[in-house]
Each structure stands twice: as C-alpha cells, then as structure tokens.
C-alpha cells in the first residue's frame, strides 16, 4: 500500500465524510482449527475468546509471559472450531511461530494463511451503501462476519476496521482482489493509503504496534486493560495482575502550533515521558498524538510540554477519542 494516492488530507477527509478503500493485504492471517481451538486461543489471547459467537469478532493482544505485547490482533470465529486471526505484517512471522509453539499442548492446528488472503478495508459513512451495490445479501453488522460474494468474488466480509468510521474489511483470494478493488472504487470509494490510515486511527486513539505497543510495554500501561480478561489465565496474565503502572499511554493535543512526532520528549510536572505517535490531525487541524507519561499526569486537561526538535510546544492530555463524529 502506498503512503498516499492523491494526498493524505484528501483521503482522510474522504473516509470521514464519504468512503475510502485501503489495500491492507500486507496484514497476515493465521487460521486455528480443531476441538481445542477455543481453549488454545483462550490461553494465548488476552480477551475472553469464549465470548466470540460463531460469526463474531474480537480485539485482543498477544502477550509474553512478562506481559510485554507481541502484537494486537482481531480474531474472527468462523464456526465453533475454526478461527481466523489477523496479524500485523511486521509481526506475522513471530506471531505465527509463537502460536504454533503454544498450540503443541492443545488439540488444535494453526496454519499460516497470509498467502491465501488479500485484504481490503472499505471505511466511512458511505461504505455500506457502496458495498450494498455489489452484494446480494445483507452485510454483517459491526463486529460480525459473514461469507458472501462481493462483485462476484468469494469474500469473508467483516464489520470491522481501524479508522473510527463504520465500514467493512474484506478478506478475499489474492487473484480476486483487483476486481473487488475496481468495483468498490468504481462505486465511489476513494483509494486511501498508509498515511491516511495512520492519521485516521490516531484521531480515534487506536494503537499502532511498533509505535504505541511493543514488547517492552504491557497492555495495562498502554490503556488496553479492557481487552485483558485476567481470569482466563492467558499467557502474561499473572504479570499483569494488580499492576499499577508508573507510566500510562495518554492522548494529547497541542494547544498552540507545531506537530508532534514519535520520539519527542514530553515534560510534565510529574516527570518526563515520550511521544509514541504524532501527526497533524486533518479533522481537528492541530497537532495530536499519544505519549507515555507518568501516571500522575494522566488526567485529561493536564498541561504537558513536548520538545519538538528542541522547541517546547504546549499541549494537554485529552480524553479518548481525540476526534468524535460531529454528526
């Protein structure tokens, strides 16, 4: 996927106001099948996998024993004993090795399915209307998934995405993906690139692995405690129990000029921190980002200062999401 087609702001606004189409085929897929598929995924994924109904979807993180995050992922339950998990491209090989190793103790088979799928994300308020012209069934609602034909191609249609807008993600055989792309862009979806994907997810405070999540950060300090169900006994859960992190990931916005970038030092009256994601928000027209700061500086409204290449810039901690749909 290119960084941009026509321009990041143009593509960003298209997704917020109409619909954009992302080619996210770089993302990986892992299939898990077998009588113990659910028990195995319950052991490795942080969320309560037993809560996913057939045709359902769930967000979770994959943790090491020490609670460090290996990846953040969406898992779809295709039927009782069959799951599909979507990995981040840069982590896919490591994730698959980790899953395969841990699956050995279970009656479950994990398969690297990354080569079998292309993936398109159709996102925005008009996404479902555009999709509706190319399907002859009802598209699955938010956080649900269904297999159907889209523009003649067999697709797994998922009511998920990572932009903060309604929409779907389509998993399709690589040979069919160009036809689906052409049908959806021909139907009015604006091609959108990696740059807009980053600004869209940051406006709604979705994490990006490698920026906001890493092996050195646990999901509690990253603000992902909501998807960590400690009583399921997942790998890493013991390390996360009763944790009171010294630092927390918080969203922030500049109150004056400037654009924060990853790595910028943060100064607060409670100590220092670090920006992990930063950009200019196309919708808010101000610098926004996420940063790890001392826990005492977590409250929305707390003034902070960000050192942007030697220049102090005024900012304040905000509530998530940074951008809320105005409609």
């Amino acid at each position: 996927m290119p960084v941009q087609y026509e321009g990041i702001r143009h593509e960003h606004v298209a997704v917020r106001t109409r619909a954009g189409l992302f080619d996210v085929s770089h993302m990986g897929q892992v299939e898990t099948r077998g009588p113990d598929a659910e028990a195995f995924l319950q052991r490795v994924l942080s969320n309560d996998v037993s809560k996913i109904q057939p045709g359902g979807a769930q967000y979770s993180v994959l943790c090491k024993e020490d609670g460090g995050v290996l990846d953040d992922l969406f898992t779809y339950r295709l039927d009782d004993g069959s799951f599909l998990t979507v990995t981040n491209a840069a982590n896919h090989e490591r994730d698959f090795a980790w899953l395969a190793e841990h699956a050995e103790q279970f009656d479950a088979t994990v398969t690297d399915a990354a080569e079998r799928y292309a993936m398109l994300a159709l996102q925005g308020p008009d996404a479902r209307a555009i999709l509706a012209r190319h399907i002859d069934a009802e598209a699955p609602p938010r956080m649900r998934t269904a297999r159907m034909r889209v523009a003649g191609a067999d697709c797994l249609v998922c009511g998920t995405g990572y932009t903060g807008e309604d929409g779907v993600e389509l998993l399709v055989a690589p040979d069919d993906s160009a036809a689906v792309w052409d049908a959806l862009t021909g139907g009015g979806a604006t091609p959108a690139g990696l740059g807009a994907r980053d600004t869209l997810r940051l406006e709604v405070c979705f994490h990006l692995y490698g920026n906001d999540l890493s092996e050195d950060r646990n999901p509690i300090e990253a603000g992902l405690g909501w998807c960590c169900k400690l009583d399921t006994g997942f790998v890493g859960s013991d390390a996360l129990r009763d944790l009171e992190p010294a630092e927390l990931l918080v969203p922030f916005a500049f109150t004056g000029p400037g654009i924060p970038r990853p790595g910028n030092p943060v100064h607060t009256e409670h100590g220092g921190g670090t920006v992990t994601s930063g950009t200019l928000s196309p919708c808010l027209d101000t610098g926004i980002g996420m940063a790890y700061v001392p826990a005492a500086a977590r409250a929305p409204g707390t003034p902070i200062e960000i050192d942007v290449r030697g220049k102090p810039r005024a900012a304040e901690v905000r509530e998530r999401p940074l951008y809320k749909d105005q409609g």
Partner: protein, 133 residues
C-alpha cells in the same frame, strides 16, 4: 497544485531551494520539486526576524502530515521578514512555491555566494541526474 516550473530569474541550491536576488536582499523558498516530494505542506515554522542564515545550513522546517523536512539556506544573511501568511495557509508553498509560498526575506551577508547558485538550466539537469540514479 502548480505545474512543474523552474523560473529563469531565480538562483537554485542543490538542496532544492531557490533565491530571488533583489539588490542587497533576497527572497528564499523551496522549489517545485521540493514541495512535490514533501506533499501537502501543513506547517511552516518560521525563524525569528533578526536571526541569521548560513549558506548550506538549515534555517527552518516545513512539515507535511507525514514528515518534517529541513529547509537549507541557499545564501548567508540576516532574516528581515518571514512569510506570516503561511501560518494560516501553509498550502501556499504547494500552490505557488515561487510566489505566495515564499518563506523568508534576507539581507545578504556575502554577495560572492550568489555565484555558487545554479541557474534554472543547471538545476533542471541536476534533477534529471538525480532521478536517473
């Protein structure tokens, strides 16, 4: 966005900056190529009036949504004006890189440096050479 042009009345620096020499002063900006590489300019952080520029050294930053880029001074001098209009409309750098998208105006410190700048033909050849690498 403007079409690709490199006006003949400007001097060019290999780091993709231009200077329009007017007596003892000069106006600086970035070239069409530079703004095209950067994409939509969303922020220009102007230097202080009264600060100095040194030829071949960064004196300001322009940012797109995705990236920040140093702006290198084509000539040495003292900044006598900055383009304040860019704080509200940084996209002028894309729309009109040689006109309303100018960055700073400088009182030149060393007139002999002007001879080191490229003319438009030489700059176009440099771009052609860079793109064929």
């Amino acid at each position: 966005m403007a079409g690709e042009t490199y006006p003949d009345d400007l001097g060019y620096h290999p780091e993709h900056d231009w200077a329009r020499i007017e007596g003892e002063e000069a106006t600086f900006g970035i070239t069409w190529f530079a703004q095209d590489q950067l994409g939509e300019v969303v922020f220009f952080d102007p230097p202080e009036v009264g600060s100095t520029t040194s030829a071949n050294e960064p004196y300001a930053e322009v940012e797109s949504v995705k990236a920040v880029s140093d702006v290198v001074a084509p000539l040495s001098g003292e900044i006598v004006a900055v383009n304040d209009a860019l704080s509200d409309s940084p996209e002028k750098v894309n729309d009109d890189p040689y006109g309303e998208g100018w960055l700073v105006r400088v009182k030149l410190g060393d007139a002999s440096e002007v001879d080191a700048l490229l003319d438009a033909d030489a700059y176009r050849k440099l771009l052609a050479a860079e793109s064929s690498e």
